[in-house]
């Protein structure tokens, strides 16, 4: 991906991310978040993580944000009044962020591995094709196209099936929780 696009999507992500924080109307915040996540998805894709990028769009922009908007509408939540903004928390939050970014910057400055570009670590399709066992993946790799979804699926269902089941339990608990917390009593 050209650098320009990277900067564009990064800016998209960060500016809309900032707007989530700055805008006082929750609807606007939610929409900004969708935009921000779209930019983020593009960054994922720029890192050859197509599947994750799409999931990001699907789950966040498609499902989570709709849920948010739905709740906002349902509950008819108003914008925050400006006077309520706490100066201390604004200053404190900003300070925290600045210190954190400075710390991060100093660490990144000393990170030798971080000086590489994507081009420095190209995907070795041939080598990968040899080691992969699944024929469809082998085929895709041979065609020099990254079977991203398949590979993620391999990892998930071959390597982490146990964790997937555990995640199922988690989702079950979440579902029950939602039901308990929001159901109306039937007489």
């Amino acid at each position: 991906m050209p650098a320009v696009l990277f900067y564009l999507f990064s800016a998209l992500t960060l500016v809309f991310g900032l707007m989530v924080v700055v805008l006082r109307n929750p609807v606007a915040s939610a929409l900004s978040l969708v935009m921000s996540f779209a930019g983020l998805a593009a960054l994922f894709i720029s890192l050859d993580a197509y599947f994750i990028g799409i999931i990001q769009i699907l789950v966040y922009a498609g499902a989570v944000m709709v849920l948010f908007l739905f709740i906002i509408m349902l509950l008819d939540i108003k914008a925050e009044a400006l006077k309520k903004v706490n100066a201390f928390s604004v200053v404190g939050g900003a300070l925290l962020a600045i210190v954190f970014i400075v710390q991060l910057g100093m660490i990144l400055g000393g990170l030798e591995a971080g000086k590489k570009t994507v081009a420095d670590v190209p995907i070795h399709f041939e080598a990968a094709a040899e080691t992969q066992k699944l024929p469809t993946i082998k085929d895709d790799l041979a065609k020099k196209s990254l079977p991203d979804t398949k590979l993620v699926g391999m990892a998930l269902f071959h390597r982490y099936p146990f964790q997937i089941q555990l995640m199922g339990a988690l989702l079950l608990v979440g579902t029950i929780g939602v039901v308990i917390l929001s159901k109306r009593e039937v007489n």
Binding site: N86, S89, G92, G93, L96, F100, Q103, M106, I107
Partner: protein, 617 residues
């Protein structure tokens, strides 16, 4: 009987008597006095037999009181002339006082308690006399203090009596402070507390070496021991308790505060004379304090109107005499005076007791008068005692007093002109105030209703007076002193002897004449010297010292302790903890914003700690 069983009996029998009476106080209410008196008679018998006991250079061991490793402090007895003689005096007068008390305390509610305490005293006093080591002496030293406390405070409902008892004990405690310090130093230097061993050490041992090289330590030790003697023998400035102690029953005054316990200080000084004599400084200080006490007390006695107080100051004065003698290098002279003084002073007190008894507990001599006709026996014995005390020639007191004057005479080894002068002055004053007492109380006309109705005391009280009259006259002579194992001093010869004799005679005569002249037919005291009457205001000074010194200081220390110790160890940490606690509670403001901020801060801080902060590998 073996000496050990004799001494054991003498020591333990009164203890048993005291314990039995104290414990079964209620049951023995009506027989306690008989038990106690019986015990005192047995003791006297034992003491008489003991007079013939042989010297025991190593002492007699009753049991080991404290024994740790090589160190021992025994309950053991020394048998020598000094202890035999002293034991005789103590038991003899003790017995007489017991008998006398049968009459004197007949109507007292707490007679059993009185006799119990008397037994306790006999036990303690015997212990001092017989002690062969300093720790044992200290033990009994304190025990006589406590029995004296009980007896002075016998009529504890009277605030004066209760206060006097307390004062006596506390003043003695001050003295005991020094006594113990002295014991500690001697123990530290030699490793033992036995008097015989210490003496041996002083003659040729560690102490000898130390005396030659570090005399100050011996001086300190001697002064420590002397401080103990000062307390017990009421030497200035620790003399204040003795006059107050007259609040106790009169027989007690006779026994404890005239004849025996107060003499224990002198007795002890003579016992440890090898230490006192080893240092000139010690001797000088002792002599001076003795001399000052003698003179000062005599001056005070001249202005008292309470018959017992006069005798008490007289006792003080005579004790000062004895102490001075010891300090001047005349332990035998001191002891000899102690011995004669015990008889006649006990008799004087018992006589005054009879007078008080007869006058329904009137003690003011200015409210008496004309008693010689109503109480002839009492008068005559009292007169004999007075004469002996004044040092009228041929009486017991004459010999012993002359001995002391001889020691003080400058020609004698340690003699000192000023002290000699003070001693002679004291003798004059003694004659003066004793004559005053006799003249005012016994002659003239009765100045009070009680004196008017006075009559002779009962036989149990008269008998001891009469018995004591004999040694008051005869005790100074060798035919009595030697079998009684008194320490008779060598007769001083030489040019000084005549001067001394003369001075002593003149003193008696001058004192007698002055007093007769002043007080014959006087209805009130023609002389009025507030300084003497108020005892040089020393009591007031002490009261102030206690109130404004000690008590205020205690208040101050308490306040400082509260502020600093309590403040620093309790209040400050507590305040700090609760302050920090509430501050930390304040962090928990309930606001989610604050919480998220704290969490964010935590992230930053942990990252800082992890990456940028490192104190040690």
């Amino acid at each position: 009987m073996e000496p050990i069983s004799l001494t054991g009996t003498v020591l333990l029998l009164p203890l048993a008597s005291a314990l039995v009476i104290m414990l079964f106080h209620g049951l023995l209410k009506n027989v306690a006095h008989l038990v106690s008196t019986g015990v005192s008679i047995i003791m006297f018998g034992c003491a008489l037999i003991f007079l013939g006991a042989e010297d025991q250079p190593n002492g007699l061991l009753l049991y080991e009181y404290l024994k740790v490793g090589t160190f021992t402090a025994d309950i053991g007895f020394v048998v020598d002339t000094q202890s035999r003689g002293m034991l005789f005096i103590v038991t003899f007068i003790g017995m007489l006082v017991h008998i006398y008390s049968l009459g004197y305390m007949k109507d007292d509610d707490a007679r059993a308690r009185y006799f119990g305490a008397l037994s306790l005293f006999m036990f303690s006093m015997n212990g001092i006399v017989l002690a062969d080591n300093l720790v044992m002496m200290f033990i009994f030293w304190e025990l006589v203090g406590v029995s004296s406390y009980l007896l002075i405070g016998h009529w504890f409902k009277k605030p004066e009596a209760a206060d006097a008892a307390k004062k006596a004990f506390l003043t003695n405690r001050v003295g005991d402070f020094g006594f113990m310090a002295g014991i500690l130093i001697l123990f530290g230097l030699t490793g033992h507390v036995s008097i015989a061993q210490l003496q041996g050490s002083m003659e040729s041992g560690a102490l000898n070496h130390i005396r030659d090289n570090y005399e100050w330590i011996i001086t300190l030790a001697g002064l420590g021991l002397f401080l103990g003697a000062m307390g017990k023998s009421a030497q200035a400035p620790l003399h204040v308790w003795l006059p107050d102690a007259m609040e106790g029953p009169t027989p007690v005054s006779a026994l404890i505060h005239a004849a025996t316990m107060v003499a224990a200080g002198v007795y002890m000084l003579v016992r440890v004379y090898f230490i006192i004599g080893a240092s000139h400084v010690t001797g000088d200080i002792i002599a001076w304090i003795g001399g000052i006490t003698a003179l000062m007390a005599a001056l005070m006695a001249t202005q008292q109107s309470d018959i017992k107080k006069i005798l008490a100051y007289s006792t003080l004065s005579q004790l000062g005499y004895m102490v001075m003698a010891v300090g001047l290098g005349g332990p035998k002279e001191g002891m000899f005076h102690l011995y004669t003084h015990a008889f006649f002073k006990a008799m004087l007190f018992l006589g005054s007791g009879a007078v008080i008894y007869a006058c329904h507990h009137e003690q003011n001599i200015w409210k008496m008068g004309g008693l010689y006709k109503k109480m002839p026996v009492t008068f005559w014995t009292f007169a004999i005692g007075t004469a002996a005390l004044m040092g009228v020639p041929l009486m017991a007191g004459f010999w012993s007093k002359e001995g002391i004057l001889a020691v003080a005479y400058p020609e004698h080894g340690h003699g000192n002109g000023i002290l000699f002068g003070m001693a002679v002055l004291t003798a004059t004053l003694t004659a003066f105030y004793m004559t005053r007492l006799v003249v005012v109380a016994f002659f003239g006309k009765a100045r009070g209703k009680d004196a008017d109705h006075a009559h002779e005391a009962p036989l149990v009280m008269i008998l001891p007076l009469v018995v004591l009259a004999f040694p008051s006259v005869l005790a100074g002579y060798h035919f009595l002193a030697e079998p009684l194992q008194a320490l008779v001093p060598n007769h001083h010869e030489g040019a000084g002897a005549k001067v001394v004799m003369g001075c002593s005679l003149v003193a008696v005569i001058v004192g007698f004449l002055a007093a007769t002249r002043l007080y014959r037919n006087a209805d009130k005291d023609p002389v009025n010297i507030p300084l003497f009457a108020n005892k040089f205001y020393i009591d007031e000074f002490y009261a102030g010292l206690v109130k404004y010194g000690q008590d205020r200081f205690a208040w101050l220390v308490t306040a400082l302790e509260r502020i600093f110790v309590d403040g620093l160890t309790v209040r400050l940490p507590a305040a700090l903890a609760s302050g920090l606690g509430s501050w930390m509670r304040g962090l928990q403001s309930g606001s989610l914003q604050a919480y998220t901020f704290v969490l964010g801060l935590g992230i930053v801080v942990v990252v800082y700690l992890a990456v940028f902060f490192s104190t040690k590998p």
